[in-house]
């Protein structure tokens, strides 16, 4: 029997993998993909929890997370392209100019 807890365990592991990607990679695109990975892990948790309590609200929350993620990707990739046009690089370490 696959209980909702097992979906949540899988989601937790996916989330940790995404967090590792954020913390270790320097390429802005890969970091973005890691964020998508973490958002998907959260979505899986929402769906499993919704099923566990017998409510559709989990699926509706996922719906809105999807919309926000899509908007975030649009703006984020536009920023990456704008930075790349100026600096010819997609590495986040190049962007330390505003460091105090």
């Amino acid at each position: 029997m696959v209980t909702p807890g097992w979906y949540m365990t899988l989601a937790a592991v996916l989330f940790v993998i995404g967090a590792v990607g954020i913390l270790t990679r320097r390429n802005a695109l890969v970091m973005f993909m890691s964020i998508e990975l973490m958002l998907n892990a959260v979505n899986l948790t929402f769906i499993a929890a919704g099923r566990a309590i017998g409510s559709l609200d989990g699926q509706l929350a996922v719906f809105f997370v999807l919309v926000v993620a899509a908007a975030e990707v649009v703006v984020g990739l536009a920023i990456i392209v704008a930075i790349f046009r100026r600096r010819q690089s997609a590495s986040v370490d190049e962007l330390a100019d505003m460091k105090g």
Binding site: M1, V2, T3, P4, G5, Y7, M8, T9, L10, A12, L14, V16, I17, G18, A19, V20, G21, L23, T24, R25, N27, L29, V30, F32, M33, S34, E36, L37, N43, L44, I47, A48, G50, R51, A52, G54, S55, L56, D57, G58, Q59, L60, F63, F64, L66, V67, V68, A70, A71, V73, V74, V75, L77, A78, I80, V81, A82, F84, S91, D93
Partner: protein, 207 residues
């Protein structure tokens, strides 16, 4: 007729949660199918996730993310979230991944990533943090907190969470309609922001 004898692998995954077989006599066979699908798709999702963070070539990372998204979509279908699964495939695997690949091709695939550590001991600290997190997850699993006990008062009928288009729309346009309208505003702002970022007119005027 609820059978009490747990399936062999099922007992490993926690046997205390035994809902009444939702589809009559075939219920337990279907639960076994769910177990097999879960194991396969979990493996696919994890492999894709590891590919995202390990691949030197950014295109391979994007392909790994695509695999993870599709595997998670299958897991949505298994949990009766039909509309969400369809949206996941269309929006994520379709639109978002296309955008990602487009930007990867535009920016160029640079393989020799800078591996200098700007924060001292960054990788070692990451490994430590991940170790701690996995220990926490493992503890929760081993301690049996995930032998899910049904929430008191939760309806046992799986059809209640059957996410068909009609039911999702019914909820979306009644109780969640304010959030839905806010979403429209958010998407407009995102579109305007992306256009403003991509616009080159101002720079041409300067030069």
């Amino acid at each position: 007729m609820p059978r009490t004898a747990p399936l062999p692998l099922a007992s490993f995954l926690g046997q205390r949660y035994l809902p009444p077989p939702p589809w009559g006599d075939k219920g337990y066979a279907l639960l076994m199918v769910e177990l097999i699908v879960f194991v396969l798709m979990a493996a696919a999702a994890l492999a894709g996730a590891v590919a995202v963070i390990r691949a030197r070539n950014t295109v391979y990372a994007a392909m790994g993310l695509l695999g993870t998204l599709l595997a998670v979509a299958v897991l949505y279908v298994v949990q009766l979230a039909h509309l969400v699964a369809a949206v996941q495939v269309i929006v994520y695997a379709g639109a978002v991944m296309t955008l990602f690949l487009f930007v990867i091709m535009l920016v160029g695939v640079d393989r020799n990533e800078d591996t200098r550590e700007t924060i001292p001991h960054q990788r070692r600290m990451t490994i430590g943090l991940v170790g701690v997190l996995f220990v926490v997850i493992g503890f929760v699993v081993v301690s049996g907190s995930f032998d899910w006990v049904p929430v008191v008062g939760a309806p046992a009928d799986p059809q209640l969470t059957n996410g068909t288009v009609q039911r999702i729309a019914g909820e979306l346009f009644t109780g969640w309609v304010l959030a839905f309208e806010a979403t429209a505003l958010l998407l407009t702002i995102a579109a305007v922001g992306a256009i403003a970022l991509a616009s080159t007119r101002r720079r041409r005027q300067e030069s």
